[in-house]
Symmetry: D2
Subunit: 344 residues, 4 copies
């Protein structure tokens, strides 16, 4: 059976596993204060063209989102996010747990649109009662979004200008960032992201690592005590070099991009061939997540052969057509794609 | 250079590394909902003689302490702990972050003594203003303690009775539990712990794993939504089988105990030989942490040869004698111990 | 100038002021542990036909909402509310501050509709990822709603059944409860509310008191340590008898209802006469808040003469018609209403 | 029966009651945005010689402490306080509820001593693990302390210098500030306090008001969104002018000082006469709280005649001698003091 239902089904890229094996008996200080972690941070700063950025490694995405947001928001501020944003839906209320409201904006193509965010902010400050309401302190975006879509450089620059206008910070959740950077549908480089955001993270868990997210603060006013905040949020890994090792490998010889490129190419092949077969798609994604509409009948026929991610009924005639997510990863093989396409 | 300054300097036991390599390309569901995690949980239940216990895997110690305490405490309750307890000192305020006060009791041999805890509770409820104060809702103990000391079965039973008397829960932090179970100074089995505590955890990070702690709820009234709480606290590992793999190995053929036994035996050898050489010890520890008093002069002479953990000046004549922690682990070699002893 | 822009513009009903003056030099214990507070609680229990209810006095509405919800929700639960609900909008994120998400449902006539709440709950538990999401633990309703509308007894019973079905608690915010009980549009008595809700409060601030809300727990499993929780939330009034005095007066000789009745009758007069004059209304409210649509031109002409609450543009032709709130209270005079009606 | 067991047993000073009566039917905007509140703020700024200070009114002490501390602390910071400080003991964990640890220092004469605070800070930053610990972000002092003692100007200046040295803020809890300012044992003026602290509050509840504390931010970098934070912490009074009225009266014709002076003079009379009778005192207090040691026998004999505050056994021979608190207030009469002294 082949699985396309998520991009974190396997372990790690072989280079990472090899390095873990080779370094296993080394003795190093804990908490990321080791030379391998230092090396990985340097490589990330170089890749971001941000020599002064503060880089921290964390274990998982929700953890990163809620620790970063809690760090960059003032106590009375909330975060703007698309209503489909991960922080708004699938983090079991971690953001609220940390005391902050997620102020949702109806998504547009899975994204926060400048127009809708601007309208919300204008209406907020026009309201005579705004001081009785949660102050928007940051914009959260995921890139790629939960729907596989991408921000253009122009769109990101607009959100940046909005943040500047309203005294907000811009935070980019890059859990799947590799798949954005490797996409042919993007004009946004890692350097652009580092320049336009206040803080963002480079996802490892879904792009070749066992686990791990690299947080990059480019706004020098932020993150001053982030080490302590990581600890406070229960997120400091004792054997921190495990994170350093993984990112050091991912940022050696562009591994991060090349394995993401592999996944995106396979996703494009799936998209193109399914389109040719007449399948409709929910949207036009150029990353590793594809959203075809598949009949329930067909979907049922795949059981035990390939696993896709069923997102529920689509359209009026309930239970006839389903919205499906197909995900490739660094680990997806051509053979698996062949098998999938032969069945659809 | 040999390092004895902590028990989490290396990677993982070779069996774990091998299993990670062997299983790397497997595709499994995330979040611990995989067969290897299920197998590991079964082995842990069996080892605890607690067939109905709920078992969850988490990544690190502080994370486990604050998520478990937040789960078992009511909103208005705090936790009693020794003033040397990890939750009271070295967790960057994670417990307070979750809204709960750590009510400290002066430690006795690194432990919570029944007498002192009982005195505090009696005095608390005798105070006319007790409803204006933080209600003690749980007792937190670490076993072994931060000073390497152990609770006897009788001591644990007394704390249990205190919890019953005052409507509190008993939580045991077993970050180094293996070294307790393998000690010749203990009469407390894993089964006893499971029976006497409401919830406890079996530490992996410091006992052979890359990372990981296994939380065991034996009180059936607790932990009903702990999966969601793990997620809410940012602590849910996406590729959860990494935790399952590690604990499945550790609980195969008693590996957990045998590697701890190795560490404790080396620690006993260090203790005995240093005592024979005339060194005084801060206390009488039977686990993998030993606390000799070493002159500053001698300590300085070790620089670059062996790394010990300097806990600061000891006694009146400041900067002459130092309290030192020597830690062994599953990974410590006889050769390293030979070298250490030849230098001291 | 006459003000109709809120129902908390004046001080307190004269009976309350008189009692404050008369009792000023009495010496009583603090924190509500005084005989007047006891008397007030007894009267409230009697009025609710709930002899075993726990009654607590608090100072303000937001304080009450967030302390009660924090008390009745488990750590991982959120609260369902209409998207127009006070807790969702105008409490500066107090609920999120306490760690809980407000899960919003599109309002229907300013209320939580059974159908929409049921649909949300069904969809929640049908989602394969529900354990990664915030668990609905309570339903919050305001009665009257922020739009002056009322739940019928049948509607409240349906919400009760929904709570029973899904293991949730039902909390009614009665900041303006008097105006509901005195309305001719209601079939819901205080006894019904006490029976159908787990906890609710009787608002004093907007119904004749200087300040104060009386929380009534009728579910015996809740509120066991509420005194301490009030203190923990910074909400315990030192000279607690000030609250007791106010509620003791309000619940003497049905003062609470009779002053609310006065306000509602005036509101009905305004409604009927404005309707007769051809004004359209946003909805059909039978309480002290009325929502006519008034032209901007007319509204501007009132400046300096009467103050109404302008809720913003209404309909397509922006800035031509406005949604306006007119509020009466126990303190509104016939003369003020005459003046208002003569101007509109 | 005469009561000396607290300073908040009665209502409010007659001037306040009169003003409440006179203004009762006025219509003013809520939330403190009324002219009386503005007037009161101006008078407070003038009394503090701090024309640019931000002034906010809150209802009670615990509420003020936890809202202010939450506002001035960064997320990862805790507050230093004497182990007898109100925030450390009698606030039901409100500070921890807001996520911050109270880092206690053994009290010296009921106060935070410069030497002990300095020693703690030096030791904190000398600890290699300080980044794993809660960062001290502010010093909390109460003036007068819970033991009636006072900081000298020199002592306060030292704490100020310590805060400057370690990047901390200085917060003074003035729940009983009037009794400090009126004391003959003080060289510290309101102007000095405004100059040396970052933020402090002037207590009304215990000095003549029904309730109310006036928060004064003199550090211009703090309190930028304090209105919203008050709301977020459930502490915004709807009919805010009730607070304005009370402080406007208290700061008219030095009423605040003159009524405190009355209380302190009576306390001094009690102290002197009891000393003359041979009573020992726990400490040397020059404010309205006095701490004589009284035999249990004598104390029992007072039952039903005068109420004192029994703080428990004193000295070795348990239950023979008791530490007792005698409190006077603006409302205490000479007659009551005569009666008390005739009985002791």
């Amino acid at each position: 059976m082949y699985r396309f239902n998520s991009d974190y089904l396997e372990g790690a890229h072989p280079n990472i596993i090899d390095r873990l094996v080779r370094t296993n008996s080394m003795q190093t200080p804990g908490y990321g204060l080791d030379p391998i972690s230092d090396s990985a941070k340097d490589k990330i700063r170089a890749a971001c063209k941000a020599p002064d950025a503060k880089v921290y490694f964390m274990v998982g995405g929700t953890q990163t989102n809620y620790t970063v947001l809690d760090s960059i928001l003032k106590r009375y501020e909330g975060v703007l996010a698309a209503d489909t944003g991960h922080v708004a839906v699938h983090e079991a209320g971690a953001i609220e747990y940390s005391g902050h409201k997620v102020i949702t904006i109806p998504e547009k193509d899975g994204k926060v649109s400048y127009d809708r965010a601007k309208a919300l902010l204008e209406s907020f400050y026009a309201d005579g009662s705004w001081q009785h309401m949660v102050r928007p302190g940051a914009i959260y975006i995921s890139h790629p979004s939960e729907y596989g879509t991408l921000y253009s450089k122009a769109e990101l620059a607009l959100l940046r200008s909005l943040c500047d206008e309203y005294g907000m910070r811009l935070f980019l959740d890059g859990a799947r960032l590799g798949y954005a950077l490797a996409s042919q549908g993007t004009d946004l480089t890692l350097g652009d992201i580092a320049e336009l955001c206040d803080v963002f993270y480079i996802g490892g868990t879904k792009v070749g690592a066992l686990f791990g997210e690299a947080v990059v603060f480019t706004n020098p006013d932020l993150g001053e005590a982030f080490f302590t905040e990581i600890k406070q949020h229960g997120a400091l890994l004792a054997k921190g070099r495990m994170l350093g090792i993984q990112f050091d490998e991912l940022f050696t010889d562009d591994l991060y991009i090349s394995i993401a490129d592999h996944a995106v190419k396979l996703a494009m092949r799936i998209k193109n061939e399914l389109k040719a077969k007449g399948y409709r798609f929910y949207n036009d994604s150029y990353t590793n997540q594809q959203f075809p509409i598949i009949s329930k009948e067909k979907l049922d026929s795949l059981e035990g052969l390939v696993a896709l991610d069923d997102w529920g009924p689509f359209g009026d005639i309930e239970d006839k057509m389903r919205l499906v997510r197909i995900t490739t990863s660094w680990a997806t093989s051509e053979e698996a794609v062949d098998a999938l396409l032969s069945l659809l």
